[in-house]
């Protein structure tokens, strides 16, 4: 083997399971995010390099996941789910309180947030469950699935972290939906949910109610909870059609935008690149999700389908909820914008998800149902 062959072989190993279309979209979004971050962080090189380090780690994990066949992942479903639930119980009992919420668990070397693990563990668990009982799913399975969803959702809601609880609930629901949950049940759940609205309202914490009320009318509390939302709307709205130009956003650079490199990075983008930029960004996300849906549609097993579908829809959900929240369409919940927001954990989770999708795609023909 000569040198060229070695390089060729290594390249083949590295790229064999990588879906170039999906990866290209992700790379483009990450690049846009990096440019926006450069502006949002006032051209801080430290933040850039930190984000690039996370990116390197995320790429490695993506590659590893892409190379693990879905069946192997399925075997990890039950242990991961159990560990996740145990950790959540641990949080409830011994958790560390940060900012009034008990979300973190101190495990000696670091603090971890078990709800992050649950974001992957729950859809994995449900996909495994439906795969296991494939073809003869009845109402008992539905009840079991409901319990599997309700348990972590309840624990996370108690922390309290309503936003994450709803997102994890949504990921569970997506699996049920794709598994073929009857429309009647969906309609019934919606009706029950609507009817139980006042009850849930009474169950909410004051700050959660305040957040929802502030969402309905940001002027209720223009300097408190409404401040984020108001300033973000001002940033996006003042960007206009073509934006104020890269590094020229006044809301961004004069410090009016809170959380602008993390959850509110889209406001920076909207201010500096305007409607044209926002539309192009939506197209990029659309391409990413579209490709992920194609991968899902071609998946070979029920497990792979459900897992890939849930990952895809969660990707959409994060993007939609984040942009909806930043543009004032939804109440403020702590959801990062996939591939754009600063932060290692979020970036790594997204690339793990992409790795799962690539694995599903790469192994579609290897295992026949």
């Amino acid at each position: 083997m000569n040198f060229t062959e070695v390089v060729g072989r290594v390249w083949e190993v590295l790229t064999r399971r990588i879906d170039s279309f999906l990866f290209g979209c992700a790379l483009a979004l990450f690049g846009v995010g990096l440019a926006t971050l450069f502006s949002a962080a006032d051209q801080s090189v430290a933040r850039m390099s930190s984000q690039l380090m996370s990116f390197a780690l995320a790429l490695a994990l993506m590659w590893i996941l892409a190379n693990i066949p879905p069946q192997t992942l399925a075997r990890a479903a039950v242990p991961l789910y159990l560990v996740g639930v145990l950790l959540l119980v641990g949080v409830a009992l011994f958790g560390v309180v940060v900012n009034g919420s008990r979300r973190w668990l101190n495990v000696g070397i670091a603090r971890i947030q078990p709800s992050e693990l649950m974001k992957i563990a729950l859809p994995l668990m449900l996909a495994w469950y439906f795969q296991k009982f494939e073809g003869r799913i009845n109402w008992k399975d539905f009840a079991v699935a409901a319990v599997l969803i309700a348990l972590p959702v309840y624990l996370i809601k108690r922390q309290p972290d309503l936003g994450t609880a709803l997102l994890i609930g949504a990921s569970g629901f997506y699996v049920l939906f794709l598994a073929g949950l009857s429309w009647k049940i969906i309609a019934g759940m919606a009706a029950v949910g609507g009817a139980a609205g006042p009850f849930f309202w009474s169950q909410l914490h004051d700050y959660q109610r305040e957040r929802i009320l502030t969402f309905i009318d940001p002027s209720r509390d223009p300097l408190g909870a409404g401040y984020h939302s108001t300033q973000a709307s001002i940033a996006i709205g003042s960007g206009g059609v073509i934006g104020k130009g890269w590094l020229n956003g006044t809301q961004t650079h004069l410090d009016f935008l809170p959380e602008r490199h993390t959850d509110f990075i889209f406001a920076v983008f909207g201010e500096e690149f305007g409607l044209v930029g926002a539309a192009l960004l939506l197209v990029l996300y659309m391409l990413l999700i579209g490709r992920a849906l194609v991968i899902t549609a071609n998946a070979s097993t029920l497990f792979a389908r459900l897992l890939a579908g849930a990952v895809t829809l969660m990707l959409f959900t994060y993007a939609f909820v984040n942009m909806g929240m930043v543009s004032g369409l939804l109440p403020v919940v702590g959801v990062p914008l996939p591939l754009m927001s600063y932060g290692g954990t979020a970036l790594v989770s997204i690339f793990i998800g992409l790795g799962v999708l690539m694995s599903v795609h790469a192994h579609r023909t290897l295992v026949k149902a």
């Binding site: 799913i137 539905f142 073929g180 709205g237 006044t250 009016f256 849906l293 899902t296 543009s327």
Partner: protein, 655 residues
């Protein structure tokens, strides 16, 4: 069945418990799954479509609105306070000027424990109890998000010490502010006035001028004197700096700047040297003096004794000093020339004589016989003359020179009060002089109509009696004039009947262009009196100072003066003889003197009032002499003023 209604994943299949092979239809399952996926795709498209619609709404439909909000976020308009104009006297001597100094200011809303913070600051810079008191007072009058001064006029060292420790005191600021300084202190304080912090009433006034924008950033406004009446000349035009600020309110850069333009300088007609001479002549006595140039209406001196130190008011007066001023029985805050109304006493006589000449009621030659009193109808009430036994035969000249009361009792008994009222109002009695210092009173020049309108419970209180006329005939009774009115009337006679509007501002100078706007002398009217009648009265006034009641005070003048003494009763004696020694000081008569000089070509006309000074000749005339000497000769003649409370001299006993 149940499964079928719950899940649509498949159709017919066997059951594991029967051990049967599962019958599955992967194709159908895949179809159903893909259909679900299509719904999900529609959901995704709808979601992103909704987002896009929202972006269009924000960035196109409401773009202008949000752009405005973003600009108001980032652009702060910072007013730049203009320099207040300088006030000088007629010779250019500075009476009020502004200077810049550092102040230590606190914003109460940003400070958790105000007292503790002040205690800590007191360790760094000198903070007196009066500073604390003043701060408390300002605090009560202000909104607590305003920055309020705790210490003013910091030294460079104090500024340095505070700057180093700034981080310890959020809510503390060191600001460069413009201050007002009145180098002459109490001298002419009632004329110059002072500035003070803008209060709610001032804000209303500013709003009325439609100047609210121009006063953004201004902390001070004229409160009293010319500082008040020429506020709009002195203030200047506020400049504007547009700065870009970050969310913390810190200025990042200047976007544009329109510099302020300083207020106009104000030159007064006042002669501060003359003013000082006059105020010194008063000594500790209370009273007023107004000196006017009769040919122009220029106010040369404007004395109200005691005065106050205007410098104390600039930063907000501390409660101790305020109490001292406000509760003093000497009323140092009362502007006596404009807001003190006193009966004119005998100073009214020359004006009544002129009225009688004009109406033809009297000729100069007509005489009366003065037995020392006047009695109505033979058996009624007796009005006493000052001189026991009377002045004998008295003509008009003598009536003024010796100040014969009986002559004027008789005249009053024969004259209708409304005729007197009509004539005297031409001279400015009972009318505002329209002087350019605010707050003057109208005074009272009685008439039938006035008495009818006066609030009285009984019909009798509103009816005019002959007795009222007789009291008014010697300047007592209902008469109450301000010193300004008497000064104006004297000036009008001195100027042969041509009245000028009195004014204290001489010119306004635009500091930028150097353009000077003179306050033109404003002749208001000429009184309806024949020149020979005025000349007769003027001659008699010269006689007063040559051979009459003013002779002693004006003995040895090197120029010819004219004057008239007056004594105004404060306390009504019921038939007893007035004895100054027996009466409490504050119930003693007020002493008046009106004068002008030189008699042939008057350059100055003045009025002196000494509160509770007793006889006019004794305490008021010597002050007039000093002021006239200084103005006419350019220097004070030594040893001419008789000491206060000297024994009464027979020669000038009559008044």
């Amino acid at each position: 069945m149940a499964r079928h209604t719950l899940f649509n994943t498949g159709g017919y299949r066997g059951r594991r418990r029967f051990g049967a092979l599962e019958l599955r239809d992967p194709q159908r399952e895949l179809f159903l799954f893909r259909r679900r996926l299509l719904y999900a795709f529609v959901f995704v498209v709808l979601g992103f479509g909704g987002l896009f619609a929202r972006f269009v709404h924000l960035q196109v439909v409401q773009h202008a609105h949000y752009r405005t909000l973003a600009d108001s976020n980032r652009i702060a308009v910072v007013p730049i306070v203009p320099n207040r104009g300088v006030i000088t006297d007629r010779n250019g001597v500075v009476l009020a000027q502004s200077f810049s100094a550092y102040t230590l200011e606190l914003t109460p809303s940003r400070i958790a424990n105000l007292d503790q913070t002040i205690d800590q600051l007191a360790e760094l810079v000198d903070i007196q109890p009066r500073d604390r008191k003043r701060f408390k007072k300002v605090l009560e009058e202000s909104k607590n998000f305003e920055s309020l001064p705790l210490r003013t006029k910091l030294t460079d060292e104090e500024v340095a010490r505070l700057a180093v420790n700034r981080f310890r005191f959020p809510g503390m600021e060191i600001k460069a502010r413009l201050f007002r300084h009145y180098p002459y202190g109490e001298v002419a304080s009632h004329a110059i006035g002072y500035i003070g912090r803008i209060n709610d009433r001032d804000l209303d006034r500013i709003a009325e001028w439609e100047e609210s924008a121009n006063y953004k950033g201004s902390d001070y406004i004229g409160k009293v004197g010319v500082e008040l009446s020429y506020e709009r000349e002195l203030h200047g035009t506020t400049g504007v700096e547009k700065v870009e600020v970050d969310s913390g309110g810190r200025a990042v850069r200047t976007l544009s700047r329109a510099p302020p333009s300083s207020g106009n300088d104000l030159r007064l007609s006042l002669d501060i040297k003359l003013q000082e001479v006059a105020e010194t002549a008063f000594g500790d006595r209370r009273g007023a003096l107004v000196a006017i140039d009769p040919t122009t209406g220029d106010i040369l001196a404007f004395v109200s004794k005691p005065g106050f130190d205007p410098n104390l008011f600039v930063d907000g007066i501390d409660p101790t000093n305020w109490q001292l001023y406000n509760e003093s029985p000497d009323k140092p805050l009362l502007n006596r020339p404009l807001r003190g109304a006193y009966p004119p006493g005998s100073t009214i006589k020359p004006f009544l004589a002129l009225a009688a000449l004009t109406s033809g009621k009297r000729t100069p030659q007509q005489t009366i016989s003065d037995p020392g009193f006047f009695q109505l109808g033979g058996g009624g009430h007796r009005w006493r003359d000052d001189k026991v036994g009377g002045h004998g035969l008295v003509d008009m000249y003598k009536s003024i020179v010796v100040s014969c009361d009986t002559y004027y009792y008789v005249l009053a008994s024969e004259t209708d009060i409304d005729d007197t009222h009509r004539f005297l109002s031409q001279l400015g009695f009972g009318r505002k002089s329209d002087v350019d210092i605010e707050g003057e009173l109208t005074g009272v020049l009685p008439s039938r109509e006035w008495k009818r309108k006066r609030a009285g419970n009984r019909e009798d209180d509103r009816k005019w009696y002959l007795g009222d006329s007789i009291s008014a005939g010697i300047g007592q009774g209902y008469n109450a004039f301000t010193p300004m009115q008497l000064a104006l009337a004297t000036a009008t006679i001195a100027n042969d009947g041509v009245a000028f509007r009195p004014h204290i501002a001489k010119s306004v100078v635009n500091t930028k262009t150097g353009e000077k706007r003179a306050v033109a002398p404003q002749p208001t009217h000429t009184i309806a009196a024949k020149p020979e009648h005025i000349a007769f009265v003027k001659n008699a006034l010269v006689g007063v100072n040559r051979e009459g009641t003013g002779a002693r005070a004006f003995a040895g003048t090197k120029y010819v003066t004219a004057g008239k003494t007056g004594t105004a009763q404060v306390y009504s004696l019921k038939g007893e003889k007035y004895n100054a020694a027996k009466i409490d000081e504050r119930l003693r008569d007020h002493a008046w003197f009106i004068a002008y000089a030189p008699a042939d070509k008057p350059r100055i006309a003045l009025v002196v009032l000494v509160e509770n000074g007793g006889f006019g000749a004794q305490s008021a005339a010597p002050i007039a002499r000093k002021v006239l000497d200084f103005h006419v000769l350019g220097r004070a003649e030594p040893g001419t003023a008789a000491p206060v409370g000297s024994p009464r001299d027979v020669d000038d006993a009559s008044d």
